[in-house]
Symmetry: C3
Subunit: 209 residues, 3 copies
């Protein structure tokens, strides 16, 4: 049941646009890892703030869902979509926190392929923030979003595999390899989580078409 012309609905759709913008802000903070002398502690702390902002957005969405008689999408679909956006933030925050906790700031620089992983996340965040306002229409524009989203996820996979090859090449000592691997895994999970966001939207589209 859809009443998509009712102003009420805009609050629901608006949530997902706001959450995607907040996520874009978070990935921009993460991208400072590629700067000349990154402030690792500040990056980690600001990402905790971005995570809290997302928690508050989610909390008000759930309140709205629970006090609304009709909703423009299935309650469980909105619930799922918010969850997948939350997965992205969780992984990004964890990656930045571990870089700081592990003292990886002592390295001359993070491996180039890890910065490439972050660049893919930036592109995914921009794409997602751009697509989210079209959630209301779910028209053919979304198809381009899925295609591009899939392409970026492949880019992320490639960067991740090349990073693994470098990590195991003997360039770093064992403990550093393990620390970098842990961070790489979380960035890869964030990359996958962006694709899961697209999958949920695609599943909603399939159901409603």
């Amino acid at each position: 049941m859809r009443f998509s012309l009712k102003p009420q609905d805009d609050a629901f759709y608006g949530f997902f646009s706001d959450a995607a913008e907040n996520l874009k802000r978070g990935v921009a903070v993460l991208a400072e890892l590629g700067d000349d002398k990154p402030d690792f502690q500040s990056i980690s702390e600001r990402l905790v703030d971005v995570e809290h902002d997302n928690d508050e957005l989610t909390h008000s969405l759930f309140n709205k869902i629970n006090t609304s008689f009709v909703t423009p999408m299935d309650r469980s679909d909105m619930y799922m979509l918010a969850g997948r956006l939350d997965d992205v933030i969780d992984n990004i925050e964890a990656a930045a926190n571990l870089i700081y906790l592990y003292g990886l700031s002592d390295l001359p620089s993070l491996p180039r392929e890890m910065i490439e992983q972050v660049a893919v996340l930036e592109a995914q965040a921009a794409l997602t923030a751009e697509a989210m306002p079209n959630l209301k229409g779910l028209d053919d524009k979304m198809r381009e979003y899925w295609v591009e989203c899939n392409r970026l996820e492949n880019d992320g996979d490639r960067a991740y595999r090349m990073l693994l090859v470098r990590l195991y090449s003997g360039e770093y000592d064992t403990m550093t390899v393990m620390k970098l691997k842990e961070v790489a895994d979380m960035l890869e999970s964030a990359c996958d989580a962006f694709e899961h966001v697209a999958n949920v939207i695609e599943a909603i589209y399939v159901k409603e078409s």
Copy 2:
């Protein structure tokens, strides 16, 4: 469609209470890892028993689902909830089995942060066992359960990250680090799985509200 006053329904709800109690029993066995001289083999073997008990509970639930004309919750929701409870058991059993297979019993003691992970799992198991009998009403009491569940999952994350920092600090030899990391990952997955249990219950609540 809900007929929650029919005695028939109690069998369905009863399953989830029984499964949560069985899980609590399993985590109590796991918690012996914090004892002075744990019997690693016995812990591992008794957790296999707990896993089998859960399998039998699940099997009888599925039989009941398939032979009942009406069920108090969606069949697929009950199916999903049983699956998430099973994930907790699987991870706990695997963690205890690997500790035994890896011969980690040769360490003077397991790292303090790993015992903290287990303490979080104990709190999660107690919370889940306490909440499950309220599944029938799904009233506002559940809200406290979700809040507390979320808090405990954060505690678990913190213990896990601090454990990683210790593992990569140079205190242990490389192979021991890898073994402990593998066990830590499984305990962290069990901790996440408890949150997934709460998520499924929340999704049911959102759908029915």
Copy 3:
């Protein structure tokens, strides 16, 4: 709503049989890893082809879903099932690619337990390809499929755990351990993904029964 006697439906069911056959073909390529002198590069490249074939099958299924007025199963269930089959291929392709990229071909042979993981995947692929044509009926034959699927997943777990024990036994140097562990994890994920295929089919069955 089911019109299972309409020829139209056979196209939907046919997709899943074709995808399962393609998967079986992929696992047969992977199984060449157990040969005397495997051609690691060729195995990796042919698995990319198998992955592309699966992508094309999926693409035509989604087109069919979106242009059909009635479908024999829920659109979202078909969507989910295709996704889980895709997970198997993804993990297998990644495992073979990393073996090649890591230069693990320099080892005298891959660990026996890793070949056992692949043997379990072969049995799972054969079982899935055999079960898929029964998707249309979803009768009691499926029950045997789930039981056997569960048994094989346990075999896979056992091979994986024994492989971990060997990896951490001191037989290999640290970097080789890490590389083999990465591959083992992907094979284990493929094994889990086969069980997720069975879970989705079971969930469809529970819903329709």
